[in-house]
């Protein structure tokens, strides 16, 4: 009877008394990646690039998703980030994300746009066709975005005019809550914020961050927006911080308002695609400067 109670793991690993290693190594290879899978991957990358191009075309913080939905940077409101678009963030290129043309991830900002040239290199023989498909998608995305922006202006104006009939405060509220239909999950549904007593350090950052993911604590209620509140303790400020990190679109985000090396900090854990990583930032992290203290460190 074979059991799992092996002796010294290093010895058992080298011994492999049942020859399982060679048995596994002899299993048939799955073969090359199927072409349909390659197509899917490049389509996804093309759609991502197309959305980036639309951002640059309009320069208003809006982008068009693959389904044509127009969303702002938070996926929540129309005007949240309209005030200071174009701030460059740290620009250190250490982090990149969907918003590579702004914020911390400016890695592609000065380079050529990838999408329009992709087809010329990714698969010889079908390069022209692939490029044409992407260009058509870009044109379509631009048209959809243009139409959506027109609707936004008209709709927003109507709301403002309507609201001004009563008072200007209501007008402001009407505009700020104007939202768009989008297939993207809103930030609020992807975000967990808590304030724990953990003291993170470089050595334990990834380990404690994993704890944060696996055993989230009581949700933190954001402080009201005010000049006195530290940016990351408010909903707006935290959104700006995540934007600066290039992580606003991550699949899941967990934030712990804790300490790092004994000083107040915000620990930001992001899961996006297959990548999981953690940052420590100062609580002064803003859209204009993420004030990264440590990270991003990869996690598993």
């Amino acid at each position: 009877m074979v059991t799992n109670d092996a002796g010294d793991p290093a010895v058992e690993f080298e011994r492999d008394p049942w020859g399982i290693g060679p048995l596994l190594a002899a299993q048939p290879d799955p073969g090359p990646m199927p072409e349909r899978v390659e197509e899917r991957i490049w389509d996804a990358i093309g759609e991502f690039d197309a959305s980036q191009d639309v951002v640059d075309i309009f320069g208003v913080g809006a982008r068009v998703e693959s389904d044509g939905g127009l969303v702002d940077e938070l996926g929540l409101k129309s005007t949240e980030f309209a005030d200071d678009q174009g701030q460059s963030g740290s620009g250190d290129g250490a982090v990149t994300g969907r918003h590579t043309s702004r914020g911390a991830g400016r890695a592609h900002a000065s380079g050529p746009r990838v999408v329009s040239l992709r087809g010329s290199t990714r698969r010889s023989g079908r390069a022209d066709g692939a490029a044409a498909v992407f260009l058509r998608r870009r044109a379509l995305a631009a048209l959809i975005a243009a139409a959506a922006v027109v609707l936004l202006v008209l709709g927003g104006s109507a709301l403002i005019r309507s609201a001004l009939g009563s008072d200007s405060g209501a007008a402001s509220k009407a505009v700020s809550t104007l939202s768009f239909t989008t297939a993207e999950v809103p930030l609020t549904a992807r975000l967990h914020v808590e304030a724990s007593a953990r003291n993170y350090t470089h050595a334990n950052l990834a380990t404690l961050a994993q704890e944060l993911l696996e055993a989230p604590g009581t949700a933190y209620s954001a402080a009201p927006d005010s000049p006195d509140a530290l940016p990351v303790t408010t909903a707006t400020g935290l959104g700006g911080c995540l934007f600066a990190l290039g992580e606003i679109d991550a699949d899941r985000i967990a934030v712990d308002l804790a300490t790092y090396d004994g000083a107040p900090a915000a620990i930001v854990v992001v899961i996006d695609g297959g990548l999981k990583q953690v940052y420590a930032v100062q609580r002064t992290c803003t859209k204009g400067n993420p004030h990264v203290v440590d990270g991003p460190l990869p996690m598993t």
Binding site: D16, G21, L24, A25, P34, R36, I41, I45, A206, G274
Partner: protein, 195 residues
Amino acid sequence: MTAPDLSRPDSATGWSATHEDPRDDAQLVADHCAGDPTAFSEIFRRHKDRMWAVAVRTCGDPELAADAVQDAFLAAYRRLASFRGESALSTWLHRVVVNACLDRLRRVRPSAPLAADDDLPAERDEHASTITRLDVRRALAALPEGQRLALVLVDMHGLSVAETAAVLGVAEGTIKSRCARGRAALAHALGVTGG
């Protein structure tokens, strides 16, 4: 089986002259981050088949693997600038692909339960050579996640213990332990005699 190291353009992997790109992976990463539109295409070409194999064997299902490699390569494309060259690019890509697979698997099987005993092939006195591919696949799928990943990367894909430790973010001793326990469990499930 040891897969060829596709991260080295000068390795004997049978590249045709038309595919030759003299840049190493580090240069391709730098070029991608600088906006070179050809760099990621070359990275993809070099690593796609290996990442596909890892995904298929980690997910145990081609459709799930297709979703996972799509997630992974899109994430890599978006976040290549966060790769800091502390390990080989292929190691980083393995990590991204494995994590994408785990994310997908957890969506399908949130609790990732072990298969019941009656899901495994009955213990028998057959020689290893008669064990079918399906037997191995089913037995692998029934292993705890950590053991399965270690065996897929070390035994099936020929990664070193150190590389696997880097991919999975654990100590090398943990990889050896997981491999040893996983092999023992597989031997038991497959009815392999020996030891």
